[in-house]
């Protein structure tokens, strides 16, 4: 289907080396903290130590007196300009600086600006705040109790319930639950974790009072959306706001929301008249910016005795913290969680989610999971294993019996999705072959006789990415299309600007490869630009694995528009009619006379020097792509673990990841993405949690306690692919960046539970720390 290009052109499928690497390996990246503007000053946030308290006074005189301090802004100051609150990306509002009361530990209370960052930090220490402690709510299960403290007195409805959302056929599902011969239940908690990209969030706000223009350098995964939000919130005309996302040191969803620090820095820049830089510390990042997950889930399966599933019933309690700052499409308060029927053919399903407020950091952002898909995939994959255990069926076999067969695609899921394509069986078989499944099961049986603990965990996940079609998707009203603007120069080189924004995904290379594929211009000759809202076409940014499905599609279609114009020019140059021409990447030739041809470079030159009369000169095209559907990458992951009985430590012996993301642009980059996502899944499964004690103190608020795996803990990942293109995508691609984070937690947990299933263990909640495992081993009497 896809034409083959030469390695010199580097179209689809070529593992060409990344063009962006040159500056990074020399330490010449331009990250937010590298931005230096003349006269720049620094901001530092004063934060609340209490999870819930009334502010009775704030004294800033001492701080203001410190030499070098230029301003101390409080919520009261912002309130005068109607900026004390701002909208979140999910139709709630969030305090920029606390007014009246604070709702979570580390909440922003005051913003200090000084000549240098040390003075700003000193001054922040001198700000005095009087608090009256209020009762704290940290257990989401208690949020709706009659005696629960009501957290949001700014809301009309005095309740901690944010939303109740349901989808599916409740009655029909109940019927199956009652009538089915077999049911299996699992209560699975997905702990609160944090994307923790290595670079924290930050901004430099520069307001030019002479021109009235605000230049906002922001670590933003969605610069255009940020610009529009700023325009609406700050009342600044949108053409006078320029958002520049420089090089970003990792995003993973953490850099999608608009944070109070950005707004404070902008206000400071406007009032002080000098550029203001605000860079948060790691502690601030972990304790106040967009967390992920915190879903308390329950799944019940109804099945026949042969394991054929009939229905799925899901109930979830979502902990959103103090403000619903989830970055989620409007119609989906629980994101795309209703993908929880997974890769399996259910006749009925019902899913309900309740979202509540608690005294914790706000959010519920999409952490490398396309809006709650990790939670959903985890739940269904755990549930299938619980069912397999119940029926004493091999988990691979249970999955085989239930996969949606290839002929059923496009598949209408009982919860409303139309899966574009899939071949779950293919991915499973390849993964099992690569891991040597049958041998491993034999080994496990032998080891069990000797009392050794070894487990194999399978996760056959389905992803849902590329949000999304305008009929269903919008964020704050902005439809989720994306864009590409391609311009070819006279010498046949090109530049393409996108509405997305890479934070390490290799866009400067992969988008160029799309142009190479469509036009035959070598990828090395195509410059890619993202992130400057003054020049890039409008887009909704990069997260939820959406770049390839949306902007990538736009790039291909823009390139095809250019190709169509090129055909006309070629016909003119070769003095034939367009129908007489045939295309191969890089040139048009006359049918039957291959010697008569024009290269794309010659055609580009002609577009400026020798174009047909009446034709618009130049060679460029813009395309805004409204995807007709989401795409559904999938895969099977298999983990093999060994558990040390003495310490409870789990060692991942092997991990095979077979991914299917349709047609691949750059296999080297895809493999790198998979490695990274699997490592994040490993961390979540075994060592990460942001929890709160009963007073609302954050536990796990620094890298001392919130553990990131090093090269020592991380195993070697084995990867593979199958290829089931998306029928609706211009070049059959689906996106893959998030699959490894979506599919892997279940594989790890399934493996550990499998290792202990003969002892009667059915489920263990993450993180599977050695302490937790050891306690189970002790309880079962097998610590020796």
């Amino acid at each position: 289907m896809l034409a083959k290009t030469s390695p010199e052109i580097g179209g689809m499928g070529h593992p060409i080396k990344r063009k962006e690497d040159l500056r990074f390996i020399q330490g010449k990246g331009n990250y937010i903290d590298d931005v230096q503007l003349p006269g720049m000053v620094y901001g530092h946030m004063v934060r609340s130590p209490y999870a819930h308290a009334r502010i009775t006074a704030i004294r800033t005189e001492e701080a203001k007196k410190l030499p070098g301090v230029l301003a101390v802004i409080t919520g009261e100051d912002l309130a005068k300009a109607n900026l004390a609150w701002m909208p979140t990306l999910f139709h709630d509002k969030q305090m920029v600086l606390a007014t009246g009361k604070v709702l979570f530990q580390s909440q922003e209370v005051a913003f200090v600006v000084a000549e240098d960052r040390y003075t700003a930090a000193d001054a922040a220490e001198l700000v005095e705040v009087d608090y009256e402690e209020l009762p704290v709510l940290v257990d989401p299960h208690k949020a709706q109790d009659t005696d629960a403290p009501i957290l949001r007195d700014d809301r009309e409805e005095k309740s901690n319930l944010i939303f109740h959302w349901e989808v599916g056929d409740r009655a029909a599902t109940e019927q199956h639950m009652k009538s089915a011969p077999v049911t299996a239940l699992v209560k699975a908690f997905f702990p609160r974790c944090h994307p923790a990209p290595l670079e924290t969030c930050g901004c430099v706000m520069d307001f030019n009072s002479a021109t009235g223009k605000l230049t906002a350098w922001i670590t933003s995964q969605a610069p255009h959306a940020h610009r529009t939000v700023f325009a609406l919130v700050a009342g600044l005309p949108e053409q006078n706001i320029r958002v520049i996302s420089p090089d970003i040191g990792g995003g993973f969803g953490n850099k999608v929301p608009v944070y109070p620090g950005y707004v404070c820095a902008a206000v400071a820049a406007l009032t002080i008249g000098r550029p203001v830089k605000w860079i948060e510390t790691r502690s601030e990042n972990l304790q106040s910016t967009g967390f992920a997950r915190d879903y308390h889930m329950e799944a019940e399966l109804a099945a026949d005795t042969d394991g054929r599933v009939r229905a799925l019933r899901v109930k979830t309690l979502a902990d959103h913290g103090a403000f619903n700052a989830a970055a989620q499409p409007t119609k989906f308060p629980a994101g795309l969680f209703s993908i929880c029927t997974g890769s399996y053919d259910f006749s009925q399903a019902f899913c309900e989610v309740d979202g509540v407020y608690t005294n914790k950091a706000p959010g519920g952002i999409a952490y490398r999971c396309s809006f709650r898909v990790t939670e959903a995939a985890y739940l269904i994959e755990r549930a299938m294993d619980v069912l397999a255990q119940e029926l004493k069926l091999d988990p691979a076999e249970l999955r085989r019996r239930n996969f949606i067969p290839p002929e059923k695609f496009p598949y209408p899921s009982p919860l409303g999705w139309s899966y574009d394509s899939g071949n779950y069986q293919g991915a499973l078989e390849l993964a099992l072959e690569k891991i040597g499944y049958d041998e491993l099961r034999k080994e496990q049986a032998e080891k069990r006789k000797r009392g050794e603990l070894m487990g194999i965990g399978i996760s056959s996940f389905t992803e849902i990415v590329g949000a999304g079609p305008s009929h269903t998707f919008d964020i704050l009203g902005l439809k989720m299309f994306d864009s590409a603007e391609l311009r070819v120069h006279p010498t046949g080189k090109a530049i393409m600007r996108m509405g997305t924004k890479s934070q390490g995904q290799g866009h400067e290379t992969t988008y160029a490869q799309i142009v190479a594929q469509e036009l035959g211009i070598p990828a090395a000759d195509v410059a890619i630009e993202e992130g400057d809202t003054d020049t890039a076409p409008y887009g909704l940014g990069t997260y939820a694995s959406r770049s390839t499905p949306t902007s990538g599609a736009a790039a291909a279609l823009a390139a095809r528009k250019v190709r169509e114009k090129a055909r006309k020019i070629a016909a003119h140059l070769l003095e034939v009619s367009e129908e007489d021409l045939e295309w191969e990447p890089g040139k048009f030739s006359v049918k039957g006379a291959p010697g008569k041809s024009k290269t794309i470079q010659e055609i580009a030159f002609a577009a400026y020097t020798n174009f047909p009369q009446g034709m618009e000169p130049g060679m460029e095209a813009v395309h805004y792509y409204d995807p007709p559907n989401l795409t559904f990458p999938f895969g099977t992951y298999v983990a093999v673990v060994d558990i040390d009985k003495g310490t409870g430590e789990v060692k991942v012996r092997r991990f095979v990841a077979v991914d299917d993301c349709g047609n691949i642009i750059n296999p080297m980059i895809v493999e790198g993405q998979v490695h990274g996502g699997l490592t994040e899944g490993l961390a979540i499964a075994f060592m990460q949690e942001i929890s709160y004690d009963e007073s609302g103190n954050v536990q796990g608020g620094t890298f001392m306690d919130y553990l990131v795996p090093t090269a020592v803990e991380t195993p070697s990942w084995e990867t593979g692919n199958t290829c089931t293109p998306s029928p609706h995508h211009p070049f059959g691609a689906k996106g893959v960046g998030e699959s490894p984070n979506v599919g892997s937690p279940a594989a790890f947990v399934n493996a550990v539970v499998d290792a202990l299933s003969h002892l009667g263990v059915k489920h263990i909640d993450m993180p599977l720390s050695p302490w937790k495992i050891w306690q189970i081993l002790k309880e079962k009497g097998v610590t020796q």
């Binding site: 609340s48 130590p49 209490y50 999870a51 530990q105 209370v109 220490e125 001198l126 700000v127 005095e128 705040v129 009087d130 608090y131 402690e133 502690s283 304790q287 004690d693 009963e694 007073s695 609302g696 103190n697 954050v698 536990q699 608020g701 620094t702 306690d705």
Partner: protein
């Protein structure tokens, strides 16, 4: 976060001598590192301050202590203290039961059972840190108390207004606390 701390120490002085100090909040305060009684609201309620320094962070707690129960017969005191950092860095509350027992071979034993709850920046350091800081503070407290007892025994002038004792510098406390975590110590 709530932490339970049980500490005992022995003194050569008689239970009666020890009780004289332990039953007087002002005298007790004079032994707590960094603490000072600023006002006696009534004979059961006292206002005071305590300064704790952890590295570059100084927390000045200002609060109140109330004697819930004072049993001269059995030599038991129950105190509840609550304080907030003056700059707004957090709060702490503590319930402490102190008892003095006569030892058969002479001398006495002081037993304290405390429940400490910390909210704020210091609590983020985690249970282990607070436990160690509390340990170190109690070490200092018992040292100061022993000194006081000796002064009392040798007939040194009873101080009407206790002076402020140097605040515990939890920076060095923290350092030794961290080192302490790595040494294998028998549990007290």
């Amino acid at each position: 976060m709530a932490i339970k701390i049980e500490k005992n120490f022995q003194a050569p002085e008689s239970a009666a001598e020890v009780w004289k100090i332990l039953s007087d909040p002002r005298s007790v305060a004079s032994c707590v590192p960094g603490a000072q009684v600023t006002e006696a609201v009534d004979d059961r309620t006292y206002k005071g301050v305590i300064k704790v320094k952890l590295g570059p962070t100084v927390t000045d707690y200002k609060g109140e202590a109330h004697i819930e129960r004072l049993d001269d017969q059995n030599r038991e005191i129950e105190l509840i203290g609550k304080g907030q950092d003056v700059r707004g860095k957090g709060s702490a509350s503590m319930k402490m039961i102190g008892m003095v027992r006569e030892l058969p071979a002479g001398g006495s034993e002081v037993v304290t059972i405390s429940e400490l709850n910390v909210v704020g920046i210091l609590a983020q350091m985690g249970n282990r840190m607070i436990q160690e800081v509390a340990n170190q503070m109690f070490e200092q407290f018992s040292k100061n108390l022993r000194q006081r007892l000796q002064q009392q025994a040798s007939g040194a002038a009873g101080s009407a207004v206790p002076e402020e004792v140097k605040p515990i510098d939890a920076g060095s406390v923290a350092a030794s606390a961290v080192l302490g975590l790595f040494k294998s110590k028998p549990k007290e």
